[in-house]
């Protein structure tokens, strides 16, 4: 509005007090907010069990799982099997992870490596992990090496794929910079390539760890004589639903704890990153 023009005698337009706009965004998040869903589910389950609507032969009550878990710990069975399972998953993850990173660097940093390795990996990606188990049994037998090999293969793919795509996404401008600064190949690798690929590797590690636990569940039901999966299979034969339930809870906790641990490392290693939702 132009203050110098117009009718000076006209009454000024009435002012209004603007109403606070209705916020359309979801509001401020709470740190514990994600516990609400699982909490409600647990409540629902507990109510059904307490009122007798849920047959304990179908699904035992939550407190049964806790007491059975405590019993298993007292007997030492849970720790023993857990240690075996964790060792299996960890060695598979280690083998798959090392292979994934090495091959990702080979195929990401050299053209020939890319043509050879990446093609094969993309081909293999289409085959579900369960489908290769018969061959794994054929090659590695039904003992421990087969189990670790299956877990390693399962963990390999996400780690390879994420590391490889992070390597390929390294900004060409940084490569130019390295050239003008006269960096050696090793300095280039250490200062630019590795830090640039690290976020992708860590993301792949999270997926890889989940894949390793999944593969563990499958291989431990094949001719295992120890491990959480063995414990669950045995319980199924004796219709001990409470022990089976403890096994499931342990798997859930393991997956969750692993993811949490990797994210913790991620936050420390990638502290230079400024991202939302941290």
């Amino acid at each position: 509005m132009n203050a110098h023009s117009g009718d000076l005698l006209a009454a000024p337009p009435a002012l209004i007090v603007p109403a606070r706009r209705m916020p359309l965004g979801p509001g401020l998040p709470s740190r514990q907010g994600h516990l609400l869903g699982p909490g409600l589910l647990l409540l629902y389950w507990a109510v059904l069990s307490a009122t007798g609507w849920l047959d304990p032969r179908t699904l035992p009550a939550p407190w049964t799982a806790i007491t059975t878990g405590a019993d298993l710990v007292r007997e030492g069975r849970l720790q023993e099997n857990l240690a075996v399972s964790a060792a299996r998953a960890a060695s598979g993850l280690l083998v798959g992870g090392v292979a994934g990173v090495l091959l990702a660097f080979l195929s990401g940093l050299s053209l020939l490596g890319g043509y050879v390795i990446d093609g094969i990996v993309q081909l293999k990606r289409g085959i579900p992990i369960l489908a290769i188990i018969p061959f794994m049994v054929l090659w590695f037998g039904i003992g421990e090496p087969m189990k670790i090999a299956v877990i390693a293969v399962a963990a390999f793919f996400p780690i390879y794929i994420q590391t490889h795509s992070a390597l390929r996404a390294i900004d060409l401008r940084f490569v130019e910079l390295a050239e003008t600064l006269g960096l050696s190949r090793w300095q280039f690798l250490r200062r630019i390539v590795i830090p640039g690929a690290l976020p992708g590797f860590l993301l792949g590690l999270r997926f890889g760890a989940t894949a390793a636990w999944l593969a563990l569940v499958v291989v431990e039901q094949l001719n295992a004589t120890s491990g959480i999966g063995y414990m669950v299979t045995l319980a199924r034969n004796y219709a001990q639903t409470d022990v089976m339930l403890v096994g499931l809870a342990v798997y859930a906790l393991l997956g969750f704890a692993t993811d949490y641990a990797i994210r913790w490392f991620e936050r420390r290693l990638l502290s230079w990153r400024r991202t939302l939702g941290r």
């Binding site: 401008r173 940084f174 910079l177 960096l183 300095q187 200062r191 830090p195």
Partner: protein
């Protein structure tokens, strides 16, 4: 005086853009040369050829450069995962740390050595890039529109800074720009590039004299084919 930079009959062709059609150019030690031209005139192509990063180009010709040169890009190009000091020291021996701190002080960022690049403003990031160039003690500084992405006020401060630092350290400078005023303010000599050739060279004179500067500005604009409308006042 022997040349710091000598270029003879330099030709570059690209499949995509930018061509050089036989460039001859000498830059004396300590001389500040601005490379002026429209976009597509080949000025960035020339700078990239001198920086040795024009792998995608085919070409012939002769380039002789001093052993120590440094490049400043339009973006600061700091590695986001290295703190400011480590960015400056990138590729330098650890013993250069004291020099790096001194360079940081020279660009007016003393005490910011432990900041992350994203904690700095665009102008501050470009100062770090300048410090990264300085710490290499270059005999030739190549700058590819280094202030193009900065706001007008920051750009003025950066002009002063670059002028002071190049006066103190005396590197030969090749500044690529499309800003005539920037070229007039900073350079000893302005080289105009058009269609991959040197179209004109102008020795900048009388920096303190406003009428003389305005005259040179008008001449340069005319060479670029721009006729300025007389400014209308009031109305």
């Amino acid at each position: 005086m022997s040349a710091a930079v000598r270029i003879r009959d330099l030709k570059r062709t690209f499949t995509l853009k930018g061509v050089l059609n036989g460039i001859d150019l000498d830059i004396a030690p300590g001389e500040f040369v601005a490379l002026l031209g429209r976009s597509g005139s080949g000025k960035s192509t020339l700078l990239r050829a001198l920086a040795g990063i024009d792998h995608e180009a085919e070409g012939t010709g002769e380039i002789a450069l001093p052993p120590k040169s440094a490049v400043i890009f339009q973006d600061a190009r700091l590695l986001p995962w290295l703190r400011v000091l480590d960015n400056i020291l990138l590729g330098q021996p650890a013993a250069a740390r004291a020099r790096a701190l001194q360079a940081l002080e020279e660009v007016g960022l003393a005490g910011r050595e432990n900041s992350w690049p994203h904690e700095l403003s665009g102008g501050e990031q470009q100062r770090v890039a300048l410090a990264r160039a300085l710490v290499r003690d270059p005999a030739l500084l190549l700058a590819d529109e280094p202030f193009g992405a900065l706001d007008a006020l920051t750009r003025i401060q950066m002009h002063d800074l670059l002028r002071r630092l190049s006066a103190r350290h005396q590197p030969a400078v090749l500044l690529v720009t499309h800003d005539i005023d920037e070229a007039l303010m900073l350079a000893d000599r302005i080289v105009m590039l058009d269609d991959g050739r040197i179209a004109a060279e102008v020795q900048v004179a009388g920096r303190g004299d406003r009428t003389l500067l305005a005259l040179q500005r008008k001449r340069l604009l005319a060479m670029l084919g721009v006729v300025e409308e007389p400014q209308r006042r009031g109305a």
